[in-house]
């Protein structure tokens, strides 16, 4: 399977659906563009007129506060008009209603959809079906991809550790169900990280995880050795009821990040988390709020990176 859907004829970003298939140059361009926007939020007038007169629809089929808010802020700071739609997914005939929703919004002359959906491939589907002038940004689809989260994490890493070639990154937790993990792994490998290591029990790893280009460990204390970046993933409560894990406390004992365990990583290692965090489940509060944590930095970087992606995808329309 290859992916050209998200690039236009000139190889420029048209949709942003997944990291897969994007070049290192393009990812770097996103990071550079984000850097130029990073200052905007600190100005007294927090706006640039780049997308004035454009209408962006945040189409959230799945609940989210943080992601939707940062997308909304990013769009407003680019001077676009934003509509938020929270659509609870109904159990039946989702295909029809998904397409119908898109068709209805299209006829209201919107320019961009930011989509979050509980099923893998939903953003691809919308990008394929929507009118050609509309751009689609994937804000998370099922267990597939969350590319803006990955790029804001790359942005955060680059601010603190600009040399990707010497970077060892550990991703810890529920890789199996994580769209964030898949996009992070692809981004890190594309940017040339020295090693991406996933650390989890087998129940939380996809069957062919090595095929993603990672090394695997089932033991946190061993897995954290020589690590520069520790990425924690959120553990959903339903993993216990579906027999993937015995209990939160046992998970915390094995895979929870404590000050003690963090010492095994490199002394200047940074700790990341896509949020929302489960204190005492995957991460100890002392680490989450500690000096090595960059969790809140990630959140504020989210705005600049999402501004960059939106601006780049709309480049053709704006020019």
């Amino acid at each position: 399977m290859s992916d050209n859907l998200q690039l236009n004829a000139e190889g420029k970003l048209k949709h942003f659906l997944t990291i897969e298939g994007l070049s290192k140059e393009l990812l770097t361009e996103i990071l550079d563009t984000a850097e130029s926007f990073a200052g905007v939020s600190e100005h007294q007038v927090k706006k640039v007129p780049l997308l004035r007169g454009k209408t962006i629809v945040n189409l959230f089929f799945e609940n989210s506060t943080r992601t939707r808010t940062t997308f909304e802020l990013a769009a407003t700071r680019l001077s676009a008009d934003v509509i938020n739609m929270n659509i609870a997914t109904s159990a039946t005939s989702k295909g029809e209603s998904l397409l119908d929703t898109i068709r209805n919004l299209e006829s209201m002359f919107v320019d961009m959809f930011v989509v979050r959906h509980a099923l893998s491939g939903a953003a691809h589907f919308i990008a394929q079906q929507t009118a050609p002038h509309i751009s689609v940004i994937n804000a998370g689809d099922g267990q597939h991809a969350h590319p803006t989260q990955a790029m804001l994490d790359m942005f955060t890493i680059r601010q603190l550790k600009p040399d990707f070639a010497n970077l060892r990154v550990a991703i810890i937790g529920d890789i199996l169900h994580s769209r964030v993990a898949r996009s992070e792994i692809q981004a890190l490998n594309t940017l040339g990280a020295a090693e991406v290591r996933v650390i989890a029990p087998k129940t939380l790893l996809p069957a062919h995880v090595q095929s993603l280009g990672v090394t695997v460990s089932h033991n946190l204390t061993e897995g954290l050795k020589d690590i520069d970046v520790v990425m924690m993933l959120r553990l959903q409560k339903e993993r216990m009821t579906s027999a993937l894990l015995p209990s939160e406390s046992e998970y915390f004992k094995c895979f929870g990040l404590t000050e003690e365990k963090l010492k095994i990583a490199k002394p200047d290692a940074i700790v990341m988390h896509p949020g929302p965090i489960n204190r005492g489940v995957e991460i100890d509060s002392k680490v989450a709020d500690g000096p090595q944590s960059v969790i809140l930095k990630q959140v504020s970087n989210g705005i600049a990176v999402r501004m960059a992606v939106m601006a780049m995808a709309m480049q053709k329309q704006v020019a």
Binding site: M1, P206, A207, S211
Partner: protein, 424 residues
């Protein structure tokens, strides 16, 4: 009505015939192959020069969508597709609406089949009431009404005690069980093979073990109960190995593979393209090669179409929520010929897998050009290229990953019980 099919290459694997000659038909039956019967005066002559004449195809797994889902397809639309594909006998899976679990529904199937002028549609009766896997269906009544076998379609029989009893009961009435092995729990509502592709795209996945464990359980029960079992739509290497071992051990079992499993793998899937959403899922290259080997060696004795036409809406959506299945009657012959061209099997084997072998599974007196047999005949041009497009396609379901492709081999004439049901 006397019909003479002239000068074609007759390939009739059951009778070990492969030579140029003519086929003579009278009163709906095969009268003679090659030798002209004394005083035979044909009412109709079909010129089959440079074409292949073989027994009509018998499809072990088909869905016509009527009753219940006529927006997807109807008997009328799908028997036209079947006739144009050289298929003269269809086995209808019981997961219609209503389910084929009472004699009345079997009668309805027969009536619809007669009405559309394609009587050879055999219903597979439901193994359990409403396919729910909890209570036995009235299998004897279903058999007496005309069901050719029993099965539970894609629905699981989660409770092995119920499966055991259903198999015992089926065996008591000498009914064949047609079984697609799939463990409900291990299948875990997946939509793609558990491999590199499902990992990369975050698709809920189905391991091979979902198939092989259910297969192993059913093999054990086949021995315990003495029930005749035909395993349908096998998808992986380890299933072929298990069937091979079971046969060697002496169990009376047979197995088929759906035609697309012999050509497509997970790597052929275009990202999130629902045309590739099929159950069991497309697996690996190694599985595909081993299925081909199983076919060549006779472990798998039949190829089915696993025809599942859909309306457009069923395939519009995010991949996991789209409905599985391909519309595949019309690609059956060209894809079988592709196996021959790629030297996976011989042409005789390919034809046998579509005619004589499924006839043997169903214990039908057909699938061969034996004098006295019903004149079910397929005439095809093995060299004719055609494009899979709206102009050439007859099924109401256009859900095929081969859409737009040019395939080689096309049926020119189909006879069912001596009646011409398709002519190009």
């Amino acid at each position: 009505m006397k019909i003479q099919i002239n000068n074609g290459r007759i390939i009739d694997p059951a009778n070990n015939i492969n030579r140029i000659g003519s086929v003579y038909i009278d009163g709906g039956k095969i009268v003679s192959v090659t030798d002209e019967p004394l005083g035979f005066k044909a009412d109709s002559v079909i010129n089959a020069e440079n074409q292949i004449v073989c027994p009509g195809f018998i499809d072990l797994s088909t869905r016509l969508r009527d009753m219940g889902h006529s927006r997807k397809a109807t008997f009328y639309s799908e028997v036209r597709a079947a006739a144009s594909a050289g298929v003269t006998t269809l086995c209808l899976q019981p997961d219609t609406v209503p389910v084929i679990d009472t004699p009345a529904v079997v009668e309805l199937v027969k009536e619809l089949a007669e009405k559309t002028g394609y009587p050879q549609i055999y219903a597979i009766g439901a193994l359990t009431q409403k396919l729910e896997g909890s209570e036995l269906s009235s299998m004897l009544s279903l058999k007496q009404a005309g069901c050719i076998a029993v099965g539970n379609a894609n629905q699981p029989v989660k409770n092995l005690l119920i499966l055991r009893r259903a198999m015992e009961y089926a065996a008591s009435h000498d009914l064949l069980l047609m079984f697609r092995p799939n463990d409900f729990w291990l299948g875990n509502n997946g939509c793609a093979h558990e491999g590199a592709i499902s990992t990369r795209y975050g698709l809920p996945s189905i391991p091979e073990a979902a198939e092989t464990i259910a297969l192993a359980q059913c093999l054990e029960l086949a021995e315990l109960t003495g029930c005749r079992v035909h395993f349908g739509q096998l998808s992986c290497k380890r299933s072929v190995i298990k069937i091979h071992q079971a046969k060697k051990y002496g169990l009376k079992v047979s197995a088929d593979v759906a035609i697309h499993q012999l050509h497509l793998t997970e790597n052929d899937m275009k990202p999130f393209d629902s045309a590739y959403h099929v159950l069991p899922p497309l697996r690996t290259e190694a599985d595909k090669q081993y299925l081909r080997k199983g076919l060549a060696g006779g472990t798998l004795n039949s190829i089915c179409s696993d025809h599942q036409p859909h309306d457009l809406d069923a395939k519009l959506g995010a991949f996991p929520e789209t409905e599985p299945g391909m519309s595949s009657l019309e690609t059956l012959l060209p894809l079988m010929l592709k196996l021959v061209a790629e030297q996976a099997i011989t042409l005789e084997q390919g034809i046998a897998c579509l005619s004589a072998n499924p006839a043997r599974v169903l214990r039908l007196n057909s699938g061969a050009l034996t004098p006295g047999f019903s004149a079910d005949v397929c005439v095809f041009d093995p060299e004719l290229d055609w494009q899979v497009n709206g102009e050439n396609w007859k099924s109401q379901g256009v859900n095929t990953p081969f859409w737009g492709q040019t395939l080689k081999g096309r049926v020119t004439c189909t006879l069912q019980a001596g009646k011409i049901i398709y002519r190009a």
